[in-house]
């Protein structure tokens, strides 16, 4: 494969990864909190779930997600030969 098509593959995969993470981000930033009153009827670790998500749950998701993102993107870069030298 030549360099140009390799770049296209790399950018395609990078863009798909972006959409995945932005979707997760959207759900835990907005959707979950929109339904906080309903979620509060459930309980998680003794917390009302709606309160838990806003004070802790979404935050945990964001942190974990970013470490995953860094690994996944690095994998894409390496497989497409677009990674920096170590």
């Amino acid at each position: 494969m030549n360099d140009t098509s390799q770049k296209a593959v790399h950018w395609n995969r990078t863009r798909n990864l972006m959409f995945v993470h932005i979707t997760i981000w959207f759900i835990f930033s907005f959707v979950v909190h929109w339904f906080a009153p309903e979620l509060n009827k459930a309980s998680f670790m003794h917390f009302p779930l709606g309160f838990y998500m806003a004070s802790q749950g979404s935050l945990v998701v964001f942190v974990v997600q970013l470490f995953f993102f860094a690994r996944q993107q690095d994998k894409i870069d390496r497989e497409c030969g677009m990674a920096e030298a170590d």
Binding site: H33, F47, V60, V63, F69
Partner: protein
Amino acid sequence: MSIFRMQGSFIENLPKIYGFYTGGFVVFVLLMALMERAGVKEDTIGLMFVGFTVFIYAVIGWLSRTMQLDAYYVAGRQVPAVFNGMATAADWMSGASFVAMAGGIYMAGHPYLAFVVGWTGGYVLVAVLMAPYLRKFGCYTVPDFIGTRYGGNLARLCAVIVLVVASFTYVTAQINATGTIASRALLIPFQVGIWIGLAGILLCSMLGGMRAVTWTQVAQYIVLIIAYLVPVIWMSNKQGFGVIPQLVYGDAVLRIAELETLHQVGVLKSAAQSGLTALNVKHNAPPDTFVGSVQFVTLVACMMMGTASLPHILMRYFTTPSVRAARTSVAWSLFFIFLLYFTAPALATFTKLQMLDPNLATSIIGKSVADVNAITWVQKWTSVGQVKVIDLNGDGILQINEFFMRPDIVVLATPEIAGLPYVISGLVAAGGMAAAMSTADGLLLAIANALSHDLYYKMIDPKADVKRRLIVARVLLIVIGAAGAGVASMRLTGILGAVAWAFDFAMSGLFFPLVLGVWWKRANRPGAIAGMVVGLLVGSWYLYMVYAGGMKPWIGIDHLRFGIIGAGASLIAMVVVTLVTAPPDKETQDMVDEVRIPKGDTVLGSTH
């Protein structure tokens, strides 16, 4: 201290150096505790805490002095991901996060958690959409990216203007916070405190630019996180909730709900008394109306998009050794920020329980007014006008709507409310000072660097030599700092109002030009200029109309959320103008391709 000159060995020794520093700080805290036991006055301990920590930051700033361009602008691009994460966390967490956030949750309950979600989730946007690409670009400042990607001085100038408007709004609030803490700890008037605070801030940044700010911010993060976590863990342990309070305060939330019924929270209401408020809403009452839910998600959106547009945050990721390290560094930043943000709601909950639960010795609601007025911390904070007890119904018993306080004092007063030794209050003051100073440093440097690099060097005098550029940068730092302190001393805005506005200004002008600069190859110069100008103008117009012009906010989008309107207008203007004008030339399109892959050289040279 020759290690600071031998960069290689200094970077390798970072864990050891900061481990030693942390140990030293813990010893200092223990020493203060012993002095308190030995009968040293509280004022002296507060003074020692603030004085000693600021002195250490100044020493680090002095040791990191430099006359090299890439060291001054981007810390030589060799800050390891984890340390850059700590520096970003300190850069990020301002006086508002440290001092005001827990208090806000205490007073406003669930709706205020929008700040907690918004000020963390924004980093997902930073990592996924921006930081790695800006690092690959190799710019010194954010306008440097705009100016090169879109080309031309006008685009660069627009970015500089948005940056200055947003960052200057922010920095006055931070200098205000440093002044407040310095005046209380050093027992000097507020007006003097501001200038002393500014002197400390400038000592950290002036001689070494980004390099000095980086290493002081790491030191400041260590102080501020210790200062935030220790009182909460101590208090939770005292109440029998164990040593990881963040995970187990669910029962406290439920207990508060019972007590709210007992004390009739939300039933007995009273209006604010000279800036002090009584507790009028329940702790766990999420918005249950359409407008309420819209207000929650729009505030979250503004804080997130603002995060991803604020230059003092983005420029931290220019300092990592590689694109890969920039990504990991965003993750570490968020982890270090998370440590404070998931603690703030726990702090608010425990403090509320302390005051409301009649089974606890520290409770005040439901006690006799005479008894409450005899409590030391109530007297102390009443004397400085931050707390007020008014027996509205004259029954001699303190009801929930008869106890007024300024929400900001929750963090500062909690050690006293919970009956912890004074040394903890001194520690908290040092932490608040570290939080406000580190953010002010980052902001001042962002403004001064944009003016010295983009305005002076790129537009006014491209022939200036290195020495001249670095002298101009430093003079600007002093001038902007003085201007910020001058505005802060007029006390125009509260801490939080100004902070939220900074986010709104930044997202209105910069969010879409930055994101689309990487993700939309077709985006061109006229489009970007239109995006910045229209975004900033429409945003400012909406802010003026709802804040001062008497206009009714559209579906609850008030002055804290005007960025939604500004950024919306910016997106429309940028897309429309781009599509009706010619696509960018081949050279620009190739540059965008180059930015999208990590390998290879940066687009801009290492010194430019």
